[in-house]
Symmetry: C2
Subunit: 558 residues, 2 copies
């Protein structure tokens, strides 16, 4: 799978994550002996990844070339773009480049891992450039659901590559800082070799709504609420928090910030001047019971129905300080992340049981996306006018549809490259081709273990989760081949033992009968005994209760 490359041979761009999937964004740009990396993101585990905490990209390719990696450029501070840094930096201790807020969030994250002092953080402003080896990288401001996001214009010996990162074209951003279309147009006029562009929202027609509309929705909803207002949002969405704070201030509500990351990220954003919150408006949870409900606004994490979050505990009527009452209002001001729909739906039902009114993106304009819709994607393509187009940051169908969109605005079909992770896209002499692929994949983090949980362990967890486990203990005399103990049967997650003693006794008898029929020489062949125990129990369980637990025969040699 790994292709050794000729290093003098053009520009090689290799996605190690984020192409054909949402999350894990990481792109390698390589020329001669120099490598730069764009983004270093994580992915939250899918339901099938049992017990996994987070997922990071497989960086074998970079590890094998660690001495050539000159730096990691970060487009913005979302977890799917910076979240793998704590795991990657110890192996690749290279300088980081990003805007002030992006690096503010990175620093906070590295602190948790005691890595902050060891890392070289370089703040870059929009329209500034950084030269690293043969690459000159300019940061270009884009609007997104986090402040201080940037696209990158990467000048290489083979030409300019525009790497959009996540973006939308918000014509009325909350801070007035527009997506820098002028810079994109300037590069377009000068000639662009390739555009790598965000495909997340390619299935949406028209334009993505402006973040400012959410503020207007808050201003409509807040004053109408007779009770408390609780806004659940992502803590990195600084403009969302700003708009909730402003709406609260306008109707005389104090603001309670809740959730570890909300408190931390608001502190960073205030310190760096991205959030304006007067101290007087803030309150804390102990003051809550003493404030009239109509003077309270809580801004919290937990919008995805996370089981341990304050919002879920409030919804379950299991929060010490906050009891919801009729007249209270909860605004879920974020996306229903795919896979979380059921959990969020349960959360909403519980909030209604408490008597609260609930607003969310499916019934009200309390959330807008941070990603460009079709018209914005076309605008980007028409401004940049790239020779080659590579859709990134999306599932496979998004890439296919984004490539079609590019063709509709004039990129020749043969110049649209739908690739997957690991593909080596080689640009040389104005031509492009997919030149093999390199090792890539997903590395699971489970507790402190990085990558030690693989398919075998996950398969066992899945099997255990479905019908539990039955342990059969037998001790056999080594000399005589006699059974001197057991069989003992212990189970977990299989049947309710308090009520199933009879069934487990029957199970025991099946094993006893099996052993009784075995010659001593067979009993001395552990492998054979184990296999037979598994076989008869599998058949017995299947016939009697149609379950398939993990059967673990333990033979003790004594």
């Amino acid at each position: 799978m790994d292709t050794e490359l000729n290093h003098s041979d053009g520009l090689r761009v290799i996605p190690l994550g984020g192409v054909g999937e949402i999350g894990l964004n990481m792109m390698v740009y390589e020329h001669g002996d120099d490598i730069i990396v764009v983004d270093c993101g994580l992915m939250f585990p899918e339901p099938s990844m049992l017990g996994i905490d987070i997922v990071i990209p497989d960086i074998t390719y970079l590890r094998d070339r660690a001495d050539r990696v000159r730096g990691i450029f970060l487009t913005h501070g979302h977890e799917d773009h910076i979240g793998a840094l704590p795991y990657v930096l110890p192996e690749l201790p290279v300088p980081l480049y990003g805007t002030a807020l992006t690096l503010g969030f990175v620093r906070e994250k590295l602190k948790e891992f005691d890595l902050d002092s060891a890392v070289d953080l370089n703040v870059v402003k929009p329209r500034e450039s950084v030269t690293v080896g043969p690459f000159k990288v300019e940061f270009i401001r884009v609007s997104h659901s986090i402040v201080d996001g940037c696209a990158l214009a990467i000048r290489t010996p083979e030409g300019v590559v525009i790497h959009t990162g996540d973006f939308k074209v918000d014509q009325t951003p909350v801070d007035g800082e527009l997506t820098d279309l002028v810079s994109f147009a300037r590069y377009g006029a000068g000639g662009v070799l390739a555009l790598f562009s965000d495909s997340t929202n390619v299935e949406r027609e028209g334009y993505t709504l402006s973040e400012r509309l959410v503020g207007e929705a808050f201003d409509e909803i807040f004053p109408r609420c007779p009770g408390r207002v609780i806004v659940a949002a992502f803590s990195s969405n600084v403009h969302r928090v700003q708009q909730a704070v402003d709406a609260a201030a306008r109707c005389g509500r104090k603001v309670l910030l809740n959730g570890r990351s909300m408190v931390a990220n608001v502190a960073i954003a205030r310190q760096l001047g991205y959030l304006r919150i007067p101290d007087e408006i803030l309150t804390d949870v102990r003051e809550m019971p003493h404030l009239p409900p109509e003077q309270v606004c809580m801004i919290t994490t937990g919008s995805q129905g996370e089981p341990m979050s304050a919002l879920t505990r409030i919804a379950m009527d299991d929060h010490k300080q906050i009891k919801l009452e009729a007249g209270d209002t909860v605004i879920l001001s974020s996306r229903f992340i795919p896979g979380n729909e059921k959990t969020i739906s349960d959360l909403i039902n519980h909030l209604y049981r408490r008597g609260a009114e609930v607003y969310h993106e499916k019934v009200s304009e309390v959330h807008v996306s941070g990603h460009a819709s079709q018209e914005e994607l076309k605008l980007m393509l028409n401004l940049v006018r790239p020779k080659f187009f590579v859709p990134v940051h999306g599932e496979y169908r998004h890439l296919v549809k984004h490539a079609r969109l590019a063709q509709r605005v004039g990129v020749p079909e043969e110049n649209c490259m739908v690739v997957e992770n690991g593909a080596v896209i080689r640009f040389a002499g104005g031509e492009a081709e997919v030149a093999g692929s390199v090792e890539n994949g997903r590395v699971f983090i489970d507790g402190k273990g990085i990558g030690d949980v693989g398919e075998v362990v996950l398969k066992d967890r899945k099997h255990l989760s479905e019908d539990g486990m039955v342990v059969v203990i037998i001790a056999i005399n080594q000399q005589t081949g006699e059974v001197i103990y057991g069989p003992d049967i212990v189970s977990r997650g299989f049947v309710f033992e308090d009520e199933s003693q009879e069934y487990l006794d029957e199970t025991k008898k099946i094993v006893l009968d099996l052993l009784a029929g075995m010659a001593p020489e067979v009993l001395n062949d552990w492998g054979e005994v184990k296999q037979e125990v598994r076989r008869v129990l599998r058949r017995f369980f299947n016939k009697t209760i149609e379950r398939r637990p993990v059967i673990l025969p333990l033979i003790l040699e004594m």
Copy 2:
């Protein structure tokens, strides 16, 4: 929780399922010593219900009064209305009442359980009535995503109750059989005590689109497809199948039916005259490779991305007879059932990887809902003009919103009763109240086990699924208190054993050290030894790899 009732006291209506949840529909109507039940549905397990096959309502209330139950009335043949019958009928062998297709599907289901000969099935036609004890029940035709659905008008000594079942008001149904608004209006004019109405789509404004539009979408898509057309739909959606067959016929495609339930349900519907499919148009899978792609239409199950379905295997390029090619088209003609979004999204991505084009409800009009939207719900309320209104068939937020809708069309707030499962709604002398609640809940079916898997077993499965299991085996001499074997460490789903021998050896040493430090009298106290093993290993695992497996110490007394 269980309230013993005064049996001479009015009409009591008790939902045993389906109120505050989607699925498990079952409603008890009780007067004096007579009980009838409406519907007997199942629910497919939620992701947290590990290893559970299906869920049925707890019928303790009925079991305790089995001699009074006179019959079960079925509104239509969907699983969430008939699926619990095979589990309930052995305990309540009462007559069933329903329309021809509903009972056709019921008979097929009972056959699988060898119950079909024992059950008394009574076919009722729309506008016909059945008198059972003090109840006179008229069947009223409604349109829905299955043919032959009916609402029930239940005449009781306390007045008429209208129980809508699932419905929409399709003004152009495929078979021309309209929702019988005339009958609803007739009952409304005569005076209705209470309306129990479907709340599923209360969050949708306007009218639900007609099923006929899906046929029009097929007629647009099919002729444009250069390759094969694969339509995935629910097998019970007879009109959907009819429209796919008709569209195939119109553009000269042969039809391949795929999926066990598709084949079975089509056979039943054809036999009863609900489906018109000429034999000549049908083909089978062995003929597929010999037909030109543009002459093929496959109608299949598997629209939810079920892992073993033909469609998933086709998408994974793992199907013997069918290999997708560029130019082939897949139409997912069904709803994305909440909880399945991620799986369906993965399916779509794989289909695009194979080069196919994919249509589904999010991008095209290839599916319409079977449930009434707000305007239809208001129409029902205005025709029936009930004194009391009880929203059913919905999650809690749906019930709340449906009650508000009823108030907007004139039902007094105090006459709108938002209740949950188990509530006893008592109607007497023109008044209504919630008079306590009865035992209710969910019973899990796992293999052949009915209700034996409860919270303890599920909790164990969840724990096992997250970090697996570590078994520690120690044999102790009963007399001397000496350790004569072990500790042996065996794990599943915890760490990858092939690479973790060193770590497991370290684990063993931790236990050895613990045992070495124990006095013989402690060693004889198994409970104490087990607890200590758990304690030291929990601490060790947490410190070294931050995982929390199920720890199962097994002490053998020898």
